[in-house]
């Protein structure tokens, strides 16, 4: 397995009330192809900020992030958007589906950024919904779906364009235990069967156990534990 993402000496700080506040300083890590990492840590430790930087929606104050040996942190906004569309699938805590679109159309959204034909898009949406076992809910609007079903749609949306890496920010934070375990099991299947690299931020130790590795972020440093 090769290195998919390399964070080298990454720092992040922001100004509040004229004072610079450092979230982390000189953070380094590598994410291997096919990895499933759970990032844990107390609130305010910078887990979500780290996830945002991995996904190219936030930039480090210093240091470098490379994705498959290509520097990504210094790309323009437009290039960063293309990078995200091609390589990253996002799964959010509150699903973040478009309320006016059906499940199928929500899943199709990332494919609008490709040059695929309508027919090809339809085929891929069907496959993605089958993978998350929601084919029979394709034409339902999000409000007609349960929380677990909405998260499955969000996962289908994340994988439909076949990205190299999935980033999940508290993907089970809004779900009951049983549904959460189903979602985590699904993510584990995606990792093990389809080789998807997954980085998941969570507060939940039970969720973290589904990952291959657990990284604890605290006071700007990582502590690694093997899991799974």
């Amino acid at each position: 397995m090769g290195v998919l993402v390399d964070l080298n000496g990454v720092s992040k700080s922001f100004k509040r009330g004229g004072q610079a506040i450092s979230i982390f300083d000189g953070l380094s890590m590598q994410i291997e192809d096919g990895d499933f990492i759970a990032i844990m840590g107390p609130s305010g430790s910078g887990k979500s900020t780290l996830l945002n930087m991995l996904g190219g929606i936030d930039r480090p104050s210093a240091g470098a992030i490379t994705f498959r040996d290509e520097r990504v942190d210094n790309k323009s906004e437009g290039a960063m958007a293309k990078f995200r569309a091609r390589n990253i699938g996002f799964i959010f805590q509150f699903y973040n589906l478009m309320p006016t679109l059906s499940a199928a159309r929500n899943v199709e959204l990332p494919l609008l950024l490709t040059k695929l034909s309508g027919g090809e898009r339809k085929k891929r949406v069907k496959t993605a919904l089958e993978l998350v076992q929601l084919s029979d809910r394709a034409h339902h609007k999000p409000r007609a779906l349960s929380g677990g079903q909405q998260q499955r749609v969000a996962i289908a949306r994340a994988i439909v364009s076949d990205p190299a890496m999935l980033l999940a920010d508290e993907p089970t934070g809004d779900l009951d235990r049983k549904t959460a375990d189903e979602i985590l099991g699904l993510m584990q299947t995606l990792n093990r069967s389809l080789g998807k690299t997954i980085v998941m931020v969570t507060h939940d130790p039970a969720a973290a156990r589904f990952a291959k590795r657990e990284l604890h972020l605290d006071k700007g440093r990582f502590e690694e534990r093997l899991s799974g």
């Binding site: 996904g55 929606i57 293309k82 478009m98 950024l113």
Partner: protein
């Protein structure tokens, strides 16, 4: 499957009631625009039919005041004048005073020489010229009232009465004229000046307006001076202008009306812009997180901005199209009732084209602020606000 247009539809109708109310607002504004625009367009239409070498001679006091018949010969003798004719306002109505029809008493031969754009079949022309009680009817009026060649038409005048006390002026339709431009006004009627002058109970040997042709438009200024100077010491002085200037001057008398109509339209569109713009800004604020998600998925800032502006254009477009369509239907109904004062009233291509431009312009304008906000929105902040 969905595409950008589908996304625009979904976004615009996110809250159906709000979308429908915005569409109705736009529809009312464009209904007003369509109706008032058509009236203005009709008022201006006459100017486009004017000829560069045609001058109008009117009484200096007012164009409604008469001139002596003897002036015709004096104008004809001015150097550079190639033809002269005259026309008296008849103030006609058909059956009911509300059925007014623009009608002039003219000298047929000279009038058709000066206004050579009136297209009449040769036999009908000869029949009209040869019949003292003949009537030349515009195609629009003939069609509207179902008049045919040979029909006897009992016209009445608002202010003229025959010397025998009869109010009805029996006239026979001898010719029907058309104009080269099928959309030009062909509602006016023409009867013989001689018939009017002989049978009229008052104002004999008086003429209304004189129209003349000049050999060359370049001589117009010189001829205008020669005519007006020639009558400067007479009891009835003249005011001579080009036909175009005369038509514009006539419109200027309605200046306040034109300005009023324009102001009403401007107010309607200003209100529309404020209402739609404000609603779009609020709608975008509700969808901050959705915009953040789209950008997270990889939608570029420019594309997101276009989608937001597209929603405004769609809503204004639907309302605008409905408004213009309603105006077109309403104008068809109004055209016959207002034919006397607004001949040829109807939705013109110009009004439709301007309407289409306004739809695009207003849509883009009202979508611009939320569009730029969406363009500039940072993902991290958008997702944070949503939470």
């Amino acid at each position: 499957m969905i595409d950008d247009l589908g996304l625009i539809f979904a976004g615009a109708f996110r809250k159906p009631l709000r979308a429908i109310l915005l569409i109705i607002t736009a529809m009312i504004a464009f209904l007003l625009f369509g109706m008032l625009g058509a009236f203005l367009s009709t008022l201006n239409a006459g100017i486009n039919l004017t000829a560069a070498n045609r001058l109008v001679v009117a009484n200096k006091i007012n164009f409604t005041s008469d001139l002596p018949y003897s002036y015709i010969a004096r104008v004809r003798s001015v150097a550079g004048v190639t033809a002269v004719t005259w026309a008296n306002w008849f103030g006609a109505y058909f059956q009911e005073p509300r059925n007014q029809i623009v009608t002039f008493a003219v000298d047929p031969e000279s009038y058709l020489e000066v206004f050579s754009e009136l297209q009449i079949p040769a036999d009908q022309r000869a029949a009209f010229v040869g019949d003292r009680t003949g009537l030349l009817v515009g195609e629009a009026t003939a069609t509207r009232l179902g008049w045919k060649i040979g029909d006897t038409v009992p016209l009445q005048s608002n202010f003229l009465q025959r010397s025998d006390g009869e109010k009805i002026w029996p006239l026979t339709v001898r010719a029907i004229y058309t104009l080269a431009d099928p959309k030009a006004d062909t509602s006016a009627l023409y009867l013989h000046y001689d018939y009017l002058n002989e049978a009229n109970s008052f104002g004999k040997d008086k003429i209304g307006l004189m129209y003349l042709l000049t050999a060359d438009p370049a001589q117009n200024e010189q001829i205008v001076r020669a005519i007006d100077d020639g009558f400067s010491t007479d009891r009835d002085q003249t005011a001579t202008t080009t036909e175009r200037a005369f038509a514009q001057g006539f419109l200027a008398q309605l200046g306040n009306l034109t300005q009023l109509l324009t102001s009403v339209m401007a107010a309607a569109f200003a209100s529309l812009a404020l209402i739609v713009g404000n609603t779009m800004v609020m709608a975008l604020r509700e969808r901050t997180k959705e915009i953040g998600v789209m950008k997270t998925l990889g939608f570029g800032a420019g594309r997101v901005m276009r989608l937001v502006i597209g929603e405004a254009v769609l809503l204004v477009g639907l309302g605008g199209a409905l408004g213009l369509a309603l105006a077109s239907v309403a104008l068809v109904g109004l055209a016959s009732q207002a034919a006397a004062f607004f001949p040829g009233l109807g939705m013109s291509n110009d009004v439709l084209l301007i309407g289409a431009g306004l739809i695009l312009g207003l849509g883009a304008l009202t979508g611009a602020i939320p569009g730029v906000n969406a363009y500039r929105m940072r993902i991290v902040e958008a997702m944070g606000k949503g939470n």
